[in-house]
């Protein structure tokens, strides 16, 4: 499982590097060759506008992975910052930050994301930022718990005795020591961000066509469900394999 996951991520990296070369092909429509099943000239078949599915999946990888990485970067940054500050300072600040976390956890996240997109409209950056802004709570709780147990240790006392200020202690001494759970959270976050982006695009409010994303290719597949199985099978398989690989790797890193 682990080697398979690593191999898939290598393939994905290669695909991301190669995606600019497929951009033209992904947008090229050919109405004489619509809905063709997989063949030698069209490796994974064509869609209802005669575009090559393989090229669209390759380009969609950039969008799907890009959105999820950006989202995870935002949520990990926010979660680590809030969690570390809450854990280190304690008292009122801790109460405030954790209250905020509880509040954010009360919202059905998917509803909130939909509502914000309803107001602001869809788009690559907006989707990434919204997924990021609604996903920091788990990391915040985790980092806070780690920092709470770390801050009483001798090396923190030593740092303080040497005259280090709060920011230095938090970011040079506490956060690096909580690195492993943070990384695990980030990897697992990628899997859930990819799923969320795909679900949004699948519902037609994520990344806007004609830009391909794995989710909106699947959305297109709904219209031709009985006719073109390849349109439904391959994009979903790409999502599934990526999410599975991220989960496998996250679980593996998390093992002590």
């Amino acid at each position: 499982m682990k080697h398979f996951a690593k191999a898939w991520f290598l393939i994905l990296a290669a695909v991301l590097l190669g995606s600019p070369f497929f951009a033209e092909r992904a947008g090229a429509m050919d109405f004489s060759r619509i809905l063709e099943p997989p063949s030698l000239s069209h490796f994974l078949g064509t869609d209802s506008l005669g575009r090559d599915l393989f090229a669209r999946l390759v380009c969609g990888a950039g969008v799907s992975v890009g959105v999820s990485f950006l989202a995870v970067f935002i949520s990990i940054f926010l979660g680590t910052l809030l969690g570390a500050v809450a854990g280190y300072f304690g008292k009122g600040i801790d109460k405030l930050v954790m209250g905020l976390t509880d509040l954010a956890l009360c919202f059905p996240v998917f509803f909130l994301i939909l509502a914000v997109i309803a107001v602001l409209g869809p788009g690559f950056w907006k989707i990434a930022v919204i997924i990021g802004l609604t996903g920091w709570m788990g990391t915040a709780r985790l980092v806070r718990a780690e920092v709470l147990s770390l801050r009483e240790r001798e090396f923190v006392l030593a740092a303080r005795a040497l005259g280090a200020g709060a920011p230095r202690i938090i970011f040079r001494h506490l956060v690096p020591n909580a690195a492993r759970p943070i990384v695990v959270n980030a990897v697992l976050g990628i899997s859930s961000a990819i799923l969320t982006e795909a679900a949004l695009s699948f519902l037609g409010i994520g990344v806007r066509p004609p830009a391909p994303s794995w989710g909106n290719i699947l959305n297109d597949a709904r219209a031709t469900l009985g006719v073109a199985w390849w349109l439904a099978l391959f994009p979903g398989a790409a999502i599934f394999l990526t999410v599975l690989s991220a989960n496998v790797l996250g679980e593996d890193i998390g093992k002590p």
Binding site: G99, C106, P108, F111, V116, A198, L218, V243
Partner: protein, 325 residues
């Protein structure tokens, strides 16, 4: 009792926060909610738009608007839908039973299958069978449910034509007898419910397995074994009750996931529930309905958490007595 008072106080504060955030989200809209009216309809003059602003109280300061909105929400008055003018509460009330029925059914399936699977994995920890089961569960956990739904629809509905793929009842529903109605609804719910159960199943059984493995390593389990209890008694009498408790918290926390999932399932299978209502309102920018569902969803989540805590406290004296450990 002190514990519950404290929790309830927290709930009130959280409820205020929820309404505040919901209100803020809607006011993120550049220009304000009534712009949709005037932008979509060129016949609306600037004067009329202004009148509408006054009618909805949008010309008053934001804090005052929030105050009057919150006051109405407190009495469950969310206003009327922009689309058809029906009261928001009526629309939501019509949609809730469907979503609730689906969620409860799939939760029952999840628990009925997830707990035994988790127990099986934990008891056989480290064996080949456990390895295979864990791999399958992790795969199930990673499965994009909308993809699975699409494939199932195309196989059972379009390919084999054995199961209905849209709606919750047939065309001639009104002419059916009571039992035929039940059968018809059940028939329509097979695909959506089993798929949403599939989505939650993996998570629950993985959680169950991890908990039980943890508990089986405790000292009191060794004691129970040492005094000669049968493995059955050790497992079901001593280990399981302690391993199942955290599941309550997880169930309480699963409300947002169920609501989010309802958006996906209900729009794939055209089921007229909360998720579908919310989704359609999002597309139509029907702000009163969006706000209503958002607030209600948050209340349901709060309720889920609260019930889970309550059940936990009812089962676990350490929490009930407020002991710190």
């Amino acid at each position: 009792m002190n514990y519950f008072l404290k929790r309830s106080g927290g709930l009130v504060v959280l409820f205020f926060g929820i309404t505040l955030i919901s209100f803020a989200v809607i006011h993120l809209a550049p220009g304000g909610p009534t712009d949709i009216y005037s932008q979509m309809n060129p016949k609306v003059s600037a004067e009329a738009a202004e009148k509408m602003q006054k009618l909805y109280g949008l010309d008053r300061p934001l804090l005052e608007q929030y105050g009057s909105w919150a006051k109405r929400v407190f009495f469950f008055d969310f206003g009327r839908s922009f689309r058809d003018g029906r009261p928001v509460t009526k629309k939501i009330a019509a949609a809730i039973p469907v979503t609730l029925l689906m969620s409860v059914l799939s939760l029952l399936f999840i628990l009925a299958a997830g707990i035994p699977l988790g127990i099986y994995g934990a008891v056989h920890e480290g064996t080949r069978r456990d390895g295979v089961l864990s791999a399958v569960l992790l795969a199930g956990f990673s499965l994009p449910v909308f993809w699975a739904a699409l494939l199932a629809m195309s196989y059972f509905g379009v390919g084999l034509r054995v199961l209905p793929v849209a709606g919750i009842h047939s065309l001639f529903f009104d002419e059916m007898t009571f039992f035929e109605k039940i059968r018809d609804v059940a028939w329509h719910l097979i695909l959506p419910v089993s798929l949403s159960a599939l989505a939650g199943l993996a998570g629950i059984s993985r959680f169950m397995r991890a908990n039980l493995i943890q508990v089986l390593k405790e000292n009191y389990i060794r004691t129970a074994r040492a005094k000669g209890l049968s493995e059955r008694k050790v497992l079901y009498g001593h280990a399981l009750p302690n391993a199942i408790l955290p599941l309550l918290t997880l169930l309480g926390l699963s409300v947002p996931g169920l609501l989010g999932g309802s958006v996906i399932f209900e729009s794939i299978f055209s089921i007229p529930g909360m998720g579908r209502l919310f989704f359609d309102s999002v597309f139509a920018r029907d702000y009163p309905v969006i706000m209503g569902v958002l607030v209600l969803g948050a209340i349901l989540t709060l309720l889920g958490n609260f019930l889970a805590d309550w059940a936990y406290a009812a089962c676990d004296p350490r929490i009930r007595l407020g002991e710190k450990f």
